[in-house]
């Protein structure tokens, strides 16, 4: 059967709607622009000082491991040794909020560098198995677990949200259509609902 990819061009985000056999919906995708996002990268040898400062001044628990933690409206995601993506729940001047950490870290604005994809639904893991080379069994990848990896030749950072079968992805902006194509190609057999900022 013809691939669902033939239903939209490689140069446009897919239209909101359902893709796949009638009457099925195994996965829901919501595309969102991050309200505010920055990269926090510890300066040479400064990871422990940064961790202490982040906790003392902003109440953030930076785990130096691929994990997402949340505090004070900010999610921090370990994205490499001494590197965290800081994702705000609401629009804000993240650079200003993180400024007290500048002595220990390089802070780089990334709000526009990424597009977010939130996936949920009973067949989400079946879809993700088609691109993610990480074991997503809840025992191996519990809520809060995160990974920075490659999906269908696209770099992504993703994590599992609490609750059933819910995952967040950050994808480089120029790859957003390519990533959407991966999702729809892989999810159409289960039925996939696609929505922007829904």
């Amino acid at each position: 059967m013809t691939s669902a990819l033939n239903t939209f061009p490689v140069t446009q985000m897919p239209a909101d709607g359902r893709y796949g056999p009638a009457g099925t919906q195994g996965v829901s995708v919501r595309v969102f622009d991050p309200p505010a996002l920055a990269l926090l990268a510890a300066r040479r040898g400064g990871a422990s000082a940064l961790t202490v400062a982040a906790h003392a001044t902003l109440g953030l628990a930076l785990a130096d491991t691929p994990r997402l933690t949340r505090a004070n409206g900010l999610a921090t995601i370990g994205a490499g040794p001494g590197r965290w993506l800081v994702l705000a729940e609401a629009p804000e001047d993240l650079a200003a909020r993180l400024a007290p950490l500048a002595a220990h870290a390089a802070i780089t604005e990334q709000t526009d560098g990424y597009v977010g994809f939130e996936l949920s639904g009973a067949r989400t893991r079946d879809l993700l198995a088609k691109g993610v080379t990480v074991d997503l069994d809840p025992a191996a990848f519990p809520p809060g677990a995160a990974a920075t990896t490659n999906v269908a030749h696209i770099n992504v950072t993703f994590w599992r949200e609490p609750g059933d079968e819910r995952f967040g992805f950050l994808v480089a902006r120029s790859y957003r259509v390519a990533f959407a194509r991966f999702l729809i190609a892989s999810g159409a057999e289960y039925g996939i609902a696609f929505a922007h900022r829904g």
Binding site: M1, T2, S3, A4, L5, V10, T11, Q12, Y19, G20, P21, D33, L39, A41, A42, R43, R44, A105, A106, T108, E109, Q110, T111, D112, G113, Y114, A129, K130, V132, T133, D135, D137, A140, A152, H153, I154, A172, R173, S174, Y175, R176, V177, A178, F179, R181, F182, A185, S186, A188, E189
Partner: protein
């Protein structure tokens, strides 16, 4: 009908219609194409690859060498499909292959011109005479006959998928050993994947008749599968072939929709699995071997266990009168089974002088004629189609004849050791079972059951259970071994036997490749005795079946010829894939435009609105040019764009450049180490052009780096090298100078960047910056870099840079605002006729200006070659400095960067043309370099070029010959400065 009145694992309530060679037949759900053909008494299924001999069905599994068909039609046509594994579906349409014009007509042609063609005579001999028939008859016939099957010509309408799976224990094969292994590990709580290439789990339990506990073997299989299916930690994957073992991963193909006429909507046809398993247990069973004797390839000659499988699993009698020919006990059990199932088994021929008395007694009780110490020396067949009618036999020295339409043969069993060899393990010959068993296995893999030469059913069940619980135990699960039900073990005696000496007619070893025992004799005589040489000389063991039924016979015959033992002779190497894997499934969704991801610039939608023609540059789609109505060729458009920029103002999205954020105390010092020129002196608010080398002294990349703050810099790289440069800088920081306080971040995606260029560029810029932002020559001088706001509070980085040679700026805004910036610039520049331009015009202008780009940064050029020699600092060390000083790179005779213009201005220059001194012969000994980039300069009205010419800068004004034999151009060009316009840079400083 050859369908037995009852029995089999087929669903007799579900009758299916199918076609073979255009004729309609009926079969049942649960049939394979092969079992359904046999049920319809279709015995002739195809013709052989080389000799065009009639062939039938040899086996009942993936080892099949003969019954290869074209399945489906049109764009879904799939050649070389093994009828023995093709699951029957309603409406299945298959055709025999390698015959012309049809299987039946081909046979009829026997009576005519090429009578000997299908007889016992050799194909080659047939075509020796009459000579004049070669061109008119034989060659066209051979050409039609050549090859096996026809590939589909249309685009595959189906799609394919790839997926990853993780488990504690992967069990490969769902026969008795595999079921018990999966049950033991699954009950212990381990995550288990049980994969089987068949559509019905159970393996031999469905093909044999044995009691396990108080139930028949197939019922035991069904019950065990049901329990496994009920365990949430066990995943059963039927129709899934594990085809290779790689580094910690197992490759498998799941045939999701092969058993359907067309896949269900949005279902893939097949799915490629990469399975990461902590442990794996190979329970792949064993493959029966044929015996090599004259005429052993006739339709009607098949493997004994397969004939048994057709009777027990499919309820099909392979023939009306079935004789057996064997060297081992398993064939006797097969014969007894089939007799009990209602098949007319007439005779048991065994090469052994004696067999176990119990077997002989059972045969007698069943009324089967037993011929021990007997060999089959030849076969007779029907004149049309060649199907078996009788056997020539020899008992002791005495010949005889037997009538039979089916001969079930068994030379013993070969464990399916293939996967155990994928990490270099070599199988080991085990004399008592006359078979190769696994040697060293890949890490984490154990082997159970017939795959390791354990043939008894009870032993197999026990071995599977033990290995399953051990694997789970190793991984920390508490495993108790499942209770082992009582079984009756069948005898498995064997006397190694390969080849009937002195038999009549070609004795086939490899039926798929038409390799005979005689061919092996030739290979021996001609010195191709080592197995790998023998394989390649004779083609034994090649193609879709990879010699499953022929390899051991072939090397055993070679061992007989050389006098070496079978172990000494050894096997050829088993490589992945174990079974044919379609290219489509390896590609998955990555085909056509999805071959790789497409990256879109922030202004893509705007450019599309403007009518841009796009071009792929790496993964990016960039605007190549923006044709206007009435412009019929790209050059017209590009000339207009270039002229508009030089006359007024134009704009282009340059977001694709790599952008790297550098922060820290030591960035200046770091940049000094990676660039050939000095950056530590760069003032805040300024940008500088830099060139970086590889460690070997060759230019890696160029670009500008701006200092935005005391400890904050931003570097741009070329589009092509964005990743490579980032990697290089990370390597330098992590490995070479970890003490430096420098932190990198890619900001390529964060910032949209648009270049505006032309004499009115400042006017346009002034209209998009916010009130109070000074973009005058004083406020933003040449090579200035400042952070301000545009479009009413949008953060922006403003750089005064020029690639075109005109007054130019690059404006960076957060990517979400990129499209708005493009629109704002169009509005702001409307008065000046602002012209969007693409990378063609960008290229023309950089060539006019004499800037190097990708064509010159070719990975073969030094800084000196490209005219950057003076830029290289002599006061500091930097990557590539030492190696750039090698004599070869310092040679003044090296081709160096200069410009070229045609002596006859009407001539079109071509990149790739080589330079020759006028009068010198056109050969490599006189090569002087080559043209790297050309463009039509609307400014000058003729073609211009850049290139690398020996000692070029010293030869300005000289004429050389530009020789381009590829496109047939050969004319004189004048060497000139690469800066064709504004050599003093007055425009860009204005």
């Amino acid at each position: 009908m050859s369908r037995l009145p009852s029995g089999g694992r087929v669903d007799r309530a579900r009758s299916l219609s199918f076609r073979f060679d255009g004729k309609t037949y009926r079969g049942f759900s649960g049939d394979t194409l092969a079992s359904a053909l046999l049920a319809n008494q279709v015995r002739l299924v195809g013709r052989s690859f080389k000799y065009h001999r009639p062939r039938g069905i040899l086996s009942a599994g993936p080892e099949e060498p003969n019954a290869l068909v074209e399945l489906r039609s049109g764009a879904r046509r799939e050649p070389n499909t093994r009828a023995t594994v093709a699951e029957l579906y309603d409406g299945l349409d298959a055709a025999s292959q390698n015959r012309w014009p049809s299987l039946a007509l081909d046979a009829l042609s026997l009576n005519g011109l090429v009578a000997p063609f299908l007889g016992a005579g050799f194909y080659y001999k047939t075509f020796m005479w009459p000579a004049k028939f070669w061109e008119s008859v034989y060659e066209p016939a051979i050409r039609r006959a050549a090859g096996l099957g026809r590939a589909a010509e249309g685009v595959d309408p189906d799609h394919y998928d790839k997926a990853h799976a993780f488990c504690d224990v992967l069990v490969i094969g769902a026969g008795p050993a595999g079921l018990m292994a999966a049950l033991a590990a699954g009950r212990a709580g381990a995550r288990v994947i049980l994969a089987d290439e068949d559509f019905l789990a159970g393996g031999r339990l469905n093909s044999e008749v044995a009691r396990i506990g108080d139930e028949p073997s197939h019922a035991f299989a069904a019950r065990t599968v049901a329990e496994l299916a009920s365990l949430p930690n066990v995943r059963i994957m039927t129709r899934t072939s594990v085809f290779g073992i790689y580094d910690g991963e197992y490759g498998a193909v799941e045939r999701v929709s092969d058993h359907l006429a067309t896949p269900a909507p949005f279902q893939p046809r097949q799915r490629l699995w990469k399975i990461a398993a902590k442990r794996a247990i190979l329970c792949a069973g064993a493959t029966e071997r044929p015996i090599v004797f004259g005429g052993n390839d006739r339709p009607g000659v098949m493997l004994a266990g397969s004939a048994r499988s057709y009777a027990n699993r499919y309820g099909v009698a392979a023939g009306k009168s079935v004789a057996f020919f064997a060297n081992n006990d398993s064939a006797w059990t097969s014969a007894f089974d089939m007799k009990a199932a209602g098949v007319n088994v007439t005779t048991l021929i065994d090469i052994r002088r004696e067999v176990a008395p119990a077997l002989a007694a059972r045969a007698k009780a069943l009324g089967i004629d037993v011929r021990t110490d007997t060999q089959v020396t030849g076969t007779t067949g029907q004149p049309i189609g060649g199907a078996l009618t009788g056997l020539a036999i020899r008992t002791g020295g005495r010949g005889g004849r037997l009538a039979a339409d089916t001969l079930a043969m068994s030379g013993g069993w070969s464990p399916s050791v293939h996967l155990t060899c994928h990490h270099g393990g070599k199988p080991v010959w085990q004399e008592d079972i006359a078979a190769f068993v696994p040697g060293r296995t890949p890490p984490g893999l154990s082997v159970a059951g017939a795959a390791r030469g354990t043939y008894g059913l009870g032993d197999t069940l026990a071995e599977g259970a033990r290995q399953g619980s051990e694997a789970a135990g190793d991984l920390g699960f508490t495993a108790t071994r499942p209770d082992l039900p009582a079984t009756e073990d069948t005898p498995a005696g064997i006397t190694a036997f390969w080849h009937v000496q002195g038999s009549k007619g070609p004795a086939f070893v490899d039926q798929q490749n038409d390799v005979t025992a005689k061919d092996l004799g030739i290979a021996y005589k001609e010195g191709f005795r080592a197995v790998e040489l023998m394989k390649r000389y004779t083609t034994l063991g090649m193609a879709t079946d990879q010699g499953r039924t022929s390899n051991v016979n072939g090397l055993a015959i070679m061992a007989e010829l050389t006098g070496a033992s079978i172990m000494e002779t050894g096997t050829t190497i088993f490589r992945p894939p174990y079974t044919p894997v379609s290219l489509g499934v390896l590609g998955g969704h990555h085909r056509g435009k999805d071959f790789r991801p497409t990256r879109l610039t922030p202004t893509h939608a705007w450019a599309a609105e403007q009518g841009a023609v796009f071009i792929e540059t790496g993964p990016w789609l960039r605007a190549q040019y923006f044709p206007k109505a009435g412009e019929t060729d790209w050059l017209t458009t590009v000339n207009r764009e270039v002229k508009a920029v030089r006359a007024s103002v134009g704009m282009i999205d340059v977001s694709t450049f790599g952008k790297i954020d550098l922060q820290g105390r030591d960035v200046g010092a770091f940049l000094d180490k990676v660039y050939i020129n000095t950056f530590s002196t760069l003032a805040v608010g300024k940008a500088r052009y830099g060139v970086m080398l590889r460690e070997d002294g060759i230019v890696m990349d160029d670009g500008t780096t701006a200092r935005l703050g005391p400890e904050h810099y931003v570097m741009t790289t070329t589009t092509a090298n964005a990743v490579k440069v980032f990697q290089h800088l990370e390597f330098c920081l992590q490995v070479l100078w970890p003490e430096l306080d420098v932190t990198l971040a890619s900001v390529s995606e964060q910032w949209a960047q648009i270049a505006i260029a032309g004499p009115r560029a400042r006017d346009v810029l002034a209209r998009v910056v916010d009130t109070g932002v000074d973009v005058s020559n004083e406020g933003l001088p040449f090579m200035g870099a400042i952070e301000r706001t545009v479009m009413g509070g949008v953060k922006a980085r403003l750089f005064r840079l020029s690639f075109s040679g005109e007054l130019g700026y690059e404006i960076a805004v957060p990517a979400r605002h990129g499209e708005a910036l493009a629109r704002a610039l169009m509005t702001a520049g409307e008065e000046f006729g602002i012209t969007p331009y693409g990378i063609e015009a960008l290229g023309v202008m950089r060539i006019e200006k004499g800037h190097v780009s990708g064509n010159e940064l070719s990975g073969q050029t030094s800084a000196g070659d490209l005219g950057f020699g003076k830029m290289a600092s002599t006061k500091k060390d930097y990557i590539g400095r030492v190696m750039a000083a090698r004599p070869g790179l310092k040679d003044p005779d090296r081709p160096a960067f200069v410009g070229f213009k045609p002596v006859d201005p009407s001539q079109r220059l071509r990149a790739g043309a080589h330079f020759l001194t006028i009068g010198a012969p056109a050969d490599m000994a006189h090569d002087q370099g080559y043209m790297t980039s050309v463009a039509h300069s609307p400014h000058l009205g003729h073609w211009i070029g850049l290139g690398l010419l020996k000692n070029g800068p010293a030869r300005i004004g000289e004429r050389v010959r530009a020789y381009d034999p590829v496109r047939g151009n050969d004319f004189e060009v004048e060497v000139c400065s690469p800066a064709f316009i504004d050599p003093n840079g007055e425009r860009l400083r204005g």
